[in-house]
């Protein structure tokens, strides 16, 4: 079921102060889509999700409207919206068994719509099978691990076959490994059952991996909404670029096509004046001798050879913050990287987001690698 949001804004009144939690937002979500709302805390993503669920009300003065398909749910109570909601801290009913938790939604239906006890039993067991928790049906939530509890809460939300599934930081309270597993598993479940879902996260990796489209939010605004690929490759502004990954900053003064910063310099095709260039860690190449275009001397301060690439931390007197570079294991061995070693960095690419200009510029330098 598609979701359409029209002018959804939100104020909070704290004493005499009015704080804007959400600028009026417009958003179209297609049937069966999995949307990630990504942003730092306080960006309004949870508020937006709770408004869609009906757990909070949008400001009424801006003509807010929420449509599920053709159904206008703007003024509908949460219990009539037919949504499933998964909470960050599971919010399971602790005095009920796993079975009773999942069955809850079915057992509180009005008598004339309520399935028979046998049907409820069968349906709950099917759901528990789906979340792989059948053997634990008679346990209490306190006897389960965090990941298991979150799966119970997911089964409970799906028991009423909702049109829309809303998840508020569903994996936020779990450890890294469980998180990764549940993420993949949710993706499969979504593809299999075809519900429309929106989830909130502050983890870029999670948002980019799981969503069909990502909405990056900050300060109560949607900064950009696009596919994970597009958001990562073509960020709409500096905030999106910086939020989606590690960033190295290079600040300096451009004169006659050369950016200088202390003892470092880099040839750039830019007009004279102060400049700030941004680079991703994988856009930094490390060499032993400087190239004619770039002379950026650095000292290796830390090396972490874990994962597909080696992460190298670099520092220099002329740099405000240390840089981070990722190099291939082959290069790591060839360069024989050690802590304290002096090297030169060469940018493969760099980005700039000049103030007042929405467009970014990406330039590729002559790349010998």
């Amino acid at each position: 079921m598609s979701i359409r949001l029209h002018n959804i804004g939100k104020h909070f009144d704290a004493g005499r102060q009015r704080t804007r939690a959400l600028e009026p937002v417009n958003l179209d979500i297609h049937d069966g889509e999995l949307i990630g709302l990504l942003g730092p805390s306080g960006s309004g993503k949870t508020t937006l999700l709770r408004i869609i669920a009906g757990l909070e009300c949008a400001d009424s003065d801006s003509g807010a409207r929420i449509l599920f398909g053709d159904r206008d749910v703007t003024n509908l109570h949460v219990r009539d919206r037919r949504i499933g909601f998964v909470f960050q801290h599971y919010a399971l009913f602790r005095h009920m068994t796993v079975f009773d938790n999942v069955a809850f939604g079915l057992t509180v239906m009005p008598r004339k719509h309520r399935p028979t006890t046998g049907e409820i039993r069968a349906r709950v067991h099917r759901l528990l099978e789906m979340v792989k928790l059948e053997p634990l049906a008679n346990r209490y939530p306190a006897q389960l691990s965090g990941g298991q509890q979150q799966r119970v809460s997911l089964a409970r939300a799906l028991a009423l076959r909702p049109d829309v599934l809303l998840l508020d930081e569903p994996f936020g309270a779990l450890d890294a490994k469980v998180r990764q597993d549940l993420r993949l598993w949710l993706r499969h479940l979504h593809d299999e059952l075809g519900f429309t879902s929106i989830f909130v996260t502050h983890d870029q990796e999670e948002a980019l991996e799981l969503s069909d489209r990502v909405a990056v939010m900050s300060n109560g605004r949607i900064e950009q909404i696009d596919t994970p690929d597009a958001v990562y490759k073509a960020p709409a502004n500096r905030f999106v670029f910086e939020f989606l990954g590690d960033v190295n900053h290079l600040e300096g003064e451009v004169r006659d096509g050369v950016l200088t910063c202390g003892e470092a310099h880099l040839s750039v095709d830019l007009p004279d004046g102060p400049e700030e260039l941004l680079l991703r860690p994988h856009e930094v190449r490390l060499v032993e001798t400087p190239t004619p275009e770039a002379r950026l001397p650095m000292t290796v301060t830390a090396i972490s050879p874990v994962g597909a690439e080696v992460r190298v931390e670099l520092a220099a007197d002329w740099l405000g913050e240390p840089w981070l570079a990722t190099v291939r294991h082959a290069d790591y061995e060839r360069l024989d990287l050690r802590r304290g070693q002096r090297l030169f960095a060469v940018p493969r690419r760099w980005h700039r987001f000049p103030a007042g200009q929405p467009e970014r510029t990406v330039m590729a330098t002559a790349d010998a690698a």
Binding site: A53, V78, R79, A142
Partner: protein
């Protein structure tokens, strides 16, 4: 055995990491002995002078038995009323924000702090036939002062904090999300309360109500001014003890007091055992 053991643990590893166990337990036990156990031993010492038949005769005396039913009946009514309103008050104090919330919260403790005799006199003047409330209620045929209703009222006044203060922290611990989860699953407000919130509060509510009941059994100061103290009608057990004491019949007073003590202890113990089972289930025990 390590030869480099620390001086205070020569030859053995210290069993506890947290310091001060011996001292704190010792002081606690001493305090309990002086304040709780010693007076109770005194009570039983008084009883030693009585034969079993004499003991039975005192505690089954007609007037005393009548006082049991007045006390227990009024305490039960007071406890049930407090259970309902205490839950409501705790709910209001935890779930909503409103001006004067802090003040209301502080007022909850007033019955604890106020001398019970002051409360008794205030209630008696308020509800006597020419008091503010009495004047309004009497024409309606409801007499409060000098009836068991007055006794229940005084008991309710002195014991309401027990319910509020036991339910409040449990309600604060219950995340609002649990409530919201029930609503997203289509439960209406009543069902959500009955099936999700009440079961959580139940142990605390029963404990609070039980404590209020036990407290009411022993209440004296607040009640005697409003009770009227008519034999067989509005005499409470605590008054019977007082009367015996005034007659210098210490053994008789102790005998009646021991009945109150046993009933209270049995009730507290029962509540504790029942609550322990319930809580074990919430925290992952066998249930």
């Amino acid at each position: 055995m390590s030869t480099r053991a620390l001086p205070f643990a020569i030859g053995r590893a210290p069993k506890r990491v947290l310091p001060g166990f011996g001292l704190s337990l010792g002081v606690s036990l001493l305090f309990i002995s002086l304040v709780l156990l010693l007076p109770m031993t005194g009570l039983f010492g008084q009883l030693a002078g009585l034969s079993l038949a004499e003991y039975w005769a005192i505690i089954s005396d007609g007037r005393v038995v009548a006082s049991y039913s007045v006390t227990i009946g009024a305490a039960a009514v007071a406890a049930l009323v407090n259970g309902a309103f205490g839950l409501l008050l705790a709910w209001v104090l935890v779930r909503y924000e409103f001006p004067g919330k802090r003040l209301l919260d502080a007022l909850m403790d007033l019955p604890f702090a106020l001398p019970t005799a002051v409360a008794g006199i205030t209630l008696a003047t308020l509800y006597s036939s020419n008091g503010w409330m009495g004047r309004l209620l009497e024409p309606l045929g409801l007499q409060v002062a000098y009836t068991w209703v007055g006794i229940a009222l005084a008991m309710a006044f002195t014991s309401i904090p027990f319910v509020v203060r036991t339910v409040q922290p449990v309600l604060e611990d219950l995340p609002v999300e649990v409530d919201e989860a029930a609503l997203t699953l289509g439960a209406n407000d009543g069902t959500a309360f009955r099936r999700v919130i009440l079961p959580h509060l139940w142990p605390a509510l029963v404990t609070g109500t039980g404590l209020a009941f036990v407290r009411s059994l022993g209440e004296f100061g607040a009640i005697i001014f409003i009770a009227g103290n008519m034999p067989y009608e509005t005499e409470i057990t605590a008054l019977m003890i007082f009367v015996r004491l005034q007659e210098y019949d210490y053994a008789g007073a102790s005998a009646i007091a021991s009945v109150v003590l046993f009933v209270s202890l049995a009730l507290l113990l029962a509540i504790n055992i029942w609550q322990g089972r319930f809580i074990k289930r919430l925290h992952g025990g066998g249930g």
